[in-house]
Symmetry: C2
């Protein structure tokens, strides 16, 4: 049974204790077997049956050990890119203006329709490889650049094939309700019917996703449309998620609470009433600071959510428009600088609360006996230091499937 | 003579044409020999003596080639770290409050006095190795955590030894006037005398630096004190630099123009009059977006400088307090999102204008015949794409001393 001893700081990240309590253990030890954590605690308390094992040699004097990171919000599969829109926004055009001119999501939908499934698989696999090297061991992946039954299913099947190919764990989410496709702008109800009556049943039948998400915003879907979609999703056995209040307070947070969503995401403009509703319903708030950085918008008010008792997760929002980066550690440092989350709070947001936001809290997200042995060994003296000293090449050992892999070095 | 052919985009970054003109050549070719660029232009125009050479095989279908990056503002050598201040700022304390309580620069000065020259060398060498892997081939390194004659010289001698050891080119800057050391707070004039009468002559005699910098700010040095120091530096053969207007408009930019400094740095709060004075005097404006990000402050108004005809450089400001990251590509992406510079403008700010800000414009910073053959080969379709899609592991080939090295991959 492998064991790591004399861990400088072992951050177990158990859920209790609130956003800032990562349950740090100084001079810790961690033993695991058959892919599961067997024991975690103070080295001096390590039971003798583990202590006899040869310790893993990591070449770090006082390693920091944390749970494998979880990116609980990405739009991983898309055709093309939109670098020109990045330049247009710098030159003063707004995201809404670019979308109105045929850019934005509609542009990526067209490019996604044009890419073969094989090319889409290869592109995603390359992203996932770089994410793995950053210590991201679970990735939530949304569809949403298909917007027809066949294309949404095609994207989700690419995710299914990626999951079968190894690499980071994939959690698939149907986001058929990303936007109303241009050709159906005059027939919104027919598109919502398509999502409810065809996409959700097909996805559930083929077990292509475990979650269903809706973009609630001016220009996307109304609260009433989203309610109908998410109720159908819940009845089909899918967990609900909501893109809420990114550009304005559109009632998305309150809807997430009403339908018992596992997460509401973005939340830059959520009202106090929405926050209170989320707290009562136990909905995780997913903040997306890379989108804030790329769009130059108001940061998600993480402190208000934390004060209200809402667990705050941090994810990348990786997509070719508003967040063209899958660098979750950068998102965590930005959560500190822009959202005023401490490094410990940010870490909990990318581990146990991110696990809750993808419905896998019982399996991953903390280093507790019985959970998956998925953790990172970092060459940093503390969690504070790790997110303060943003480095290109932080040396990372990644435990997955009982083997230690080296990330970038 | 080595040559790279069929370069997707060859951005030569010649100085003329203004901030946004990187002189891009589509389907370019680049030939070099004996460490110098021999020819750069369109592949179809490549003279036959170069065309016969076996092209370097880079494994990229359409590589992007840019000049080696130049970080023209770092405080590389310091003892200890200050991660706890990062957390204190998140919790609401200001940089000034932390400094008043014994933190800030004074804390790092004490930790720098306590570290051996050997340990300081090793620490800097590790930073420089990671910077090199990011494509940073020249690094300006300031002293300033010594604040006594012996300690300032000790830091600069570490830089001299690092320069002799290979790795990125080092440009050393005396920053004896970083702050008045605590023990001399009541004798400011005596400290300025020490800088002028002892540090500058000793540094010039031993050729330990080519530049001299002063921190002009409330709590640091006045314009009159800085004028005296920088005039003495100029007379001793050192180029002048100024930390100007970071926290308030303190007249630093105007002083930089008056003493014909090669750069004024920070400039978050410079007045229009200061900008105009810099434009007339040809002073480079060095923006430091990582410090803006870490401190959550107002971005440097790059567009106002560019509109006035001031060349804007972009650097990291790497130091253990306000900018604990040496990730220059991240600084460039932040210059785009926070300072509204286009990727092309940001690139020019980390190449030819950065070269000007360290007094090396004749040698480096652009890919023109006769200049040093220091360039990067990036796996990106365009400069826009490179800074838009912030990646952890951008595959980079680095040319230096006639050899191609691989950076992270």
């Amino acid at each position: 049974m492998p064991v790591i001893r004399h861990i400088g700081v072992l951050a177990t990240c158990a859920a209790d204790g609130g956003q800032g309590d990562i349950h740090p253990i100084t001079n810790g030890a961690l033993a695991w077997a058959d892919g599961r954590i067997a024991w975690a605690g103070r080295d001096e308390d390590l039971p003798s049956q583990y202590a006899e094992e040869r310790p893993a040699n990591l070449g770090m004097p006082t390693p920091l050990v944390i749970p494998g990171l979880i990116d609980c919000h990405t739009h991983l599969a898309f055709g093309g890119w939109r670098a020109h829109e990045f330049v247009e926004r710098i030159q003063g055009r707004t995201y809404q203006e670019i979308a109105a001119a045929g850019g934005g999501i509609a542009s990526t939908v067209a490019q996604t329709h044009a890419i073969s499934s094989e090319a889409l698989f290869d592109k995603c696999e390359s992203f996932l490889g770089e994410m793995f090297s950053l210590g991201i061991l679970t990735v939530e992946c949304k569809s949403g650049y298909g917007l027809t039954l066949a294309e949404e299913l095609r994207i989700l099947r690419v995710y299914r094939d990626l999951a079968a190919a190894g690499g980071p764990r994939i959690v698939s989410t149907l986001l058929g309700a990303h936007t109303v496709p241009p050709e159906m702008r005059g027939r919104r109800d027919a598109y919502v019917d398509l999502v409810v009556d065809e996409m959700i049943p097909a996805v559930a039948r083929e077990r292509l996703a475990t979650c269903c998400d809706v973009f609630v915003e001016r220009g996307a879907f109304t609260v009433d449309e989203a309610r109908r979609i998410l109720r159908a999703a819940r009845e089909a056995g899918l967990a609900a998620k909501v893109h809420a209040d990114q550009l304005s307070d559109g009632g998305g947070a309150a809807l997430a609470a009403e339908v018992h969503a596992i997460s509401a995401d973005h939340l830059e403009h959520t009202s106090d009433a929405g926050i209170e509703a989320m707290a009562r319903a136990g909905v995780v708030a997913v903040s997306l600071p890379l989108a804030t950085m790329y769009l130059g918008q108001t940061p998600m008010p993480a402190r208000r959510f934390i004060a209200a008792g809402v667990p705050v997760a941090v994810a990348t929002d990786f997509n070719p428009g508003s967040a063209p980066s899958y660098h979750l550690p950068l998102a965590l440092t930005l959560a500190c600088t822009m959202q005023r989350m401490t490094p410990a709070e940010a870490l909990k947001g990318a581990t146990i609360y991110a696990a809750r936001a993808v419905g896998l809290e019982a399996e991953i997200g903390s280093l507790e006996p019985g959970k998956r042995a998925e953790f990172l060994v970092l060459d940093a003296p503390s969690v504070d230091h790790w997110l303060y000293n943003f480095r290109p090449n932080a040396r990372t050992a990644i435990a997955a499937e009982d083997e230690l892999h080296w990330g970038r070095d």
